[in-house]
Symmetry: C2
Subunit: 210 residues, 2 copies
Amino acid sequence: MRMNKNKVPKSVLERLPIYLHYLKTLSADECKTISSANIARGLGLGEVQVRKDLALVCGTGKPKIGYSYQNLVDHLEDALGCKMKINVVIVGAGKLGKAFLSYDCFTEYGFDIMAAFDIDEERTGELSNGKKIFTIDKLKEFCQNENVKIGIITVPEGSAQSACDLLVNCGVKAIWNFSPTRLVHTSDVKVKNENMASSLAVLSAELRVK
Amino acid sequence: MRMNKNKVPKSVLERLPIYLHYLKTLSADECKTISSANIARGLGLGEVQVRKDLALVCGTGKPKIGYSYQNLVDHLEDALGCKMKINVVIVGAGKLGKAFLSYDCFTEYGFDIMAAFDIDEERTGELSNGKKIFTIDKLKEFCQNENVKIGIITVPEGSAQSACDLLVNCGVKAIWNFSPTRLVHTSDVKVKNENMASSLAVLSAELRVK
């Protein structure tokens, strides 16, 4: 049974990978049923929040028993689209781009970070995990052949807009932007800007308030 | 004049680095005054949101003129504590750890990512920007000598809790955790968990809804 994605707010969606990952770390004998209270405790989250979040993707658990482990995992994977493989490329094979290319935690959520592309020929080659870095002129053919849906931008600030334009021209539908540039794009392309300094700023403000 | 940090909600605080960075990219002749409408347009954000956010840190601008550029920059820098240097270390000098060590965008917000530490002696050495990687046994002395306040954890999942315990033992007050492990810690330490897959999951869910 496929749930209606429109019903899950973005703030809840962001927590689903955390629940799913937590469930997958549990050992086999903990695994037949699990209550939202136990998940909340395990993750250090509020029980009310966990119960509400899980109700949106998997209905309510049985009183005093909770959820069937497997049923909950299935619903979370369904809500996150883990079984629908989504192909992803990286533009910019500097340190951050290479870090993503070698990061294997995206796979469990259905993402295949396939390759990286860079303007600098010296960066091309193969990582130890077998993932390849190509020159940027190979991007369009690759995206079309592999039906790439998401592009990650990890180029320096001044090159981000042209990387964005290029990815859109290659048919990519969503962009995850790690440069501090605000990208100009048409409304049919989704862009998520990731400002790493924002996270640190929030942490340090909390330190200073104390 | 120092504003009251308690007044700025976390959601607004997260946007302040974006405003500040945008202002700093403007050329000198655009720079005497700037309106919230222009900032909103430049960043592709809603004007009402920008006006409300800036009002919290810098009061309201002058009608039809907006803010004095320098005054707005000063207030944003003050709210973000950019002039108070905060020392930061990284535990885990794999690809992501090294990417942070060479990322220079944190400096403008007052963060000095000083060094990285790793259990693997083969990873020690110096990056091209002069930042150093030490073995983990040097962590405590370094943190105490340099008054390090924030630790970034970029170790594999199984080592994250011990990295956290070690950082807390070294006197660090806040942790930015990039491993998918939920860390157990005392309440006097702030932890911000960064789940990279969550961002991608939201993007891809938006793609699938369309």
